[in-house]
Amino acid sequence: MIEIWNRAQPLQGFIGGAMIGAACTLMLLLLGRIAGISGLLARACQLTRPPTFDLLAIAFIFGLPLGAFIIDLIIKPVEVIYPNNNLILVLAGLLVGFGARLGSGCTSGHGVCGVSRLSPRSLFATGIFMLSGIVTVAFMHKFGIAS
């Protein structure tokens, strides 16, 4: 039990989470939009049907990595460890891209914006992808695929 808390960053997590919430608040109250990253990314890259030229989505998607870069540069180097090999990474990317579009959202759109709105669809989707993620990680450990 103590080992868990050695690795955890509850305070930093909470503050970072509040910043994510503030970002979603700006999108909702100033622009009237949901800060769902899979949806915004698809719109920014014209991968929606029909394709749209959505400059707001492009601005958001451009800002996202820039924000992390600023933290990395000014506050502290951000620890980033990719635990799995490139084949798993590519397969996972395909599933995340396809699944997020099919399910109309990801961790930000359903998990943050939808759950806080108490949307039944989002609550349900978040429960499902958490469960599916937990089962996947357990499966990978059982078969020695994960590190």
Partner: protein, 148 residues
Amino acid sequence: MKLAYFTSLVSGLLFGAGLALSGMANPQRVQSFLDIGGAFDPTLAFVMMGALLVMAFAWRAQKNLLHPLFSTHYEIPNTMPIDLRLISGAILFGVGWGMAGLCPGPALVGLVLLPKKAILFVGAMLLGMGLYRFVDQSLSSINPNQRS
């Protein structure tokens, strides 16, 4: 309206900074959150708490705001029933999320933090999104009542 684009950029910046600060840009940490029987790391739960707390207030404020400050109308999804698309999409998404410890936000943030790895995931993710559009298009040409 230039102010709207600036707002969107600032929102993206804030979101990316939040991901980096919270540890959610690190796939290993996210994967550990899902590893409830192993090296469990509860950090993501605190991230969700922070984000949901702020957003709960935002939704309350939204109810009293006729239209967003920089726009004439809201673009918010209507209430729709839970359908097979939502369920199967969430399952597939969860499998990918667990496999790599990455979802779209942290993957995009990875493009500056660890580009040679993140580019593989982001490239595949965009391909997956394109593939969905193709499948969706093919399905709806058979059954025109399908929504996009």
